[in-house]
């Protein structure tokens, strides 16, 4: 009971008075309470009024039952049908949750496997410069991995002449995307707007699956859906347990 606690004796006694009037307090508590009540009028009043309250509550009249609650066969069958329907819904919900879980796993695995190619560049550069330079030159941002696109768009290193600051970049057959970028440069220079897809500065896209944002978005949506479905299943199971 902790009578040696820092709480005042009055607080300790009052906290245990209810158990005392119910004869549920332990022997140590009873001894302390009885010795204290003999000397403290305020706590004695507490004890007396709590005892009276308990007695009054016990005298509250019982309410008449308004009708019989005997179950009819029809009620039981209706509840049974509803139970089966609930069980079926729960089964579907679990199936959908499992499917979403598998999809989420597949998407995360795909994300890791395909390694989306996003080359972050601190300053925007014209796409031509970025794409036209061979791999390994300083035109690629330092410390970033070359993208799949850059690798595909760049001739093999063996065929590339050594590049020095004095020499211009060797002429190469432009790939589709380089041509795209060239076209962008031309039309911009001529004052016309480029009509095709303009890559974001610092981002090189070859395929839709290399967009990191897309992967994050799909993972986010699937993850959220998975968590919500799990919460619904757990909540439903708890309700069923409490109801029975």
């Amino acid at each position: 009971m902790g009578f040696r606690s820092k709480k005042g004796i009055h607080t300790t006694v009052r906290e245990n008075l209810s158990a005392y009037v119910d004869r549920e307090a332990d022997a140590e508590a009873v001894a302390l309470i009885e010795s204290h009540l003999a000397a403290c009028d305020a706590c004695a009043w507490e004890e007396k009024t709590l005892e009276q309250t308990r007695r009054l509550m016990g005298q509250a009249p019982r309410v008449a039952v308004p009708r019989s609650f005997v179950l009819r066969r029809a009620d039981v069958e209706a509840v049974s049908k509803a139970g089966h329907s609930l069980a079926r819904r729960t089964l579907y919900l679990r199936g959908v949750t499992a499917l979403v879980g598998v999809l989420l796993f597949a998407v995360v695995a795909g994300d890791v496997w395909l390694k989306p190619a996003t080359v972050a560049s601190p300053a925007p550069e014209p796409p031509l410069m970025l794409l036209g330079a061979p791999q390994g030159t300083e035109s690629l941002a330092e410390g970033t991995a070359p993208s799949r696109l850059a690798v595909e768009a760049t001739p093999p290193p063996a065929e590339v002449a050594p590049l020095s600051a004095a020499e211009p970049a060797p002429a190469e057959t432009p790939t589709d995307i380089e041509a795209d970028a060239l076209e962008w440069g031309k039309t911009t220079a001529l004052g016309g707007g480029y009509q095709g897809a303009v890559p974001e500065p610092g981002e090189v896209r070859a395929h839709w699956w290399e967009s990191a944002n897309l992967w994050r978005a799909v993972e986010g949506v699937l993850g959220l859906l998975f968590v919500v479905l799990l919460a619904v299943i757990i909540g439903g199971a708890r309700r069923v347990r409490r109801g029975a």
Binding site: R14, E15, N16, L17, S18, A19, D22, E24, W45, K48, T49, L50, E51, Q52, T53, R54, R55, L56, M57, G58, Q59, A60, P61, R62, V63, A64, V65, P66, R67, S68, F69, V70, L71, R73, D75, V76, V79, S80, G83, R242, G243, A244
Partner: protein, 198 residues
């Protein structure tokens, strides 16, 4: 037929046997539900739902006190009703408190009609006092002081520790005492709290 036998037959799907148990406990369940909810219709719904849930789940009853098991189901049904009420508070005429019909059969034989009327007034004031308590304290006070259950039984019904029962009951009873002292004029003189006894 004794209770154990009725339970066994109910577990085998015998609705008649289960209804014998319903007749035995319907007054207890309805009274607890009425005191928790303070509304006759809501209490009737909670009681009916509790018996339906109990019938569906009786296969999982593993012995012990059948009354405590039923009370656990009905208190959960009442919590559900209170949650629904909190979500959809309404002030229609249908929701106004109606004086309940008290069970005249359970009144003491020696009790005069006047004393019976006074006891009904006491019942109404107690119901108002219960209305100011938080649900968790109210349930424990009802099970202890109106249903006369022990701390151990209450702990089993509500699913909390003995220590929690003690502390919640202590707070609930003190609040009820304060309510009865502050609203003493609502009580018949016979029942007013004073130093001389109740």
């Amino acid at each position: 037929m004794d209770e154990k036998e009725l339970i066994t037959q109910s577990q085998e799907g015998d609705l008649q046997a289960f209804n014998q148990l319903v007749l035995t406990y319907q007054s207890t369940l309805y009274n607890v539900a009425y005191r928790i909810l303070g509304d006759g219709d809501a209490a009737a719904d909670a009681t009916q739902n509790a018996f339906l849930s109990a019938y569906r789940a009786i296969g999982r009853f593993r012995g012990g006190s059948f009354k405590a098991w039923l009370l656990r189901i009905v208190t959960n049904a009442c919590y559900d009703q209170l949650r629904v009420k909190q979500r959809r508070p309404t002030d229609s005429l249908d929701d106004m408190a109606v004086e309940p019909e008290y069970d005249a059969n359970l009144a003491d034989d020696a009790e005069s009609p006047e004393a019976y009327v006074l006891r009904q007034e006491l019942g109404a004031v107690i119901q108002q006092g219960l209305g100011v308590l938080p649900s968790d304290q109210k349930v424990i006070l009802i099970l202890s002081d109106i249903e006369g259950m022990s701390y151990q039984e209450i702990a089993h019904v509500v699913g909390i520790s003995l220590g929690t029962v003690k502390s919640r009951l202590s707070r609930a009873r003190a609040k009820m005492r304060d309510y009865l002292v502050q609203n003493g004029e609502l009580l018949p003189a016979l029942y007013r709290l004073h130093d001389g006894g109740g």
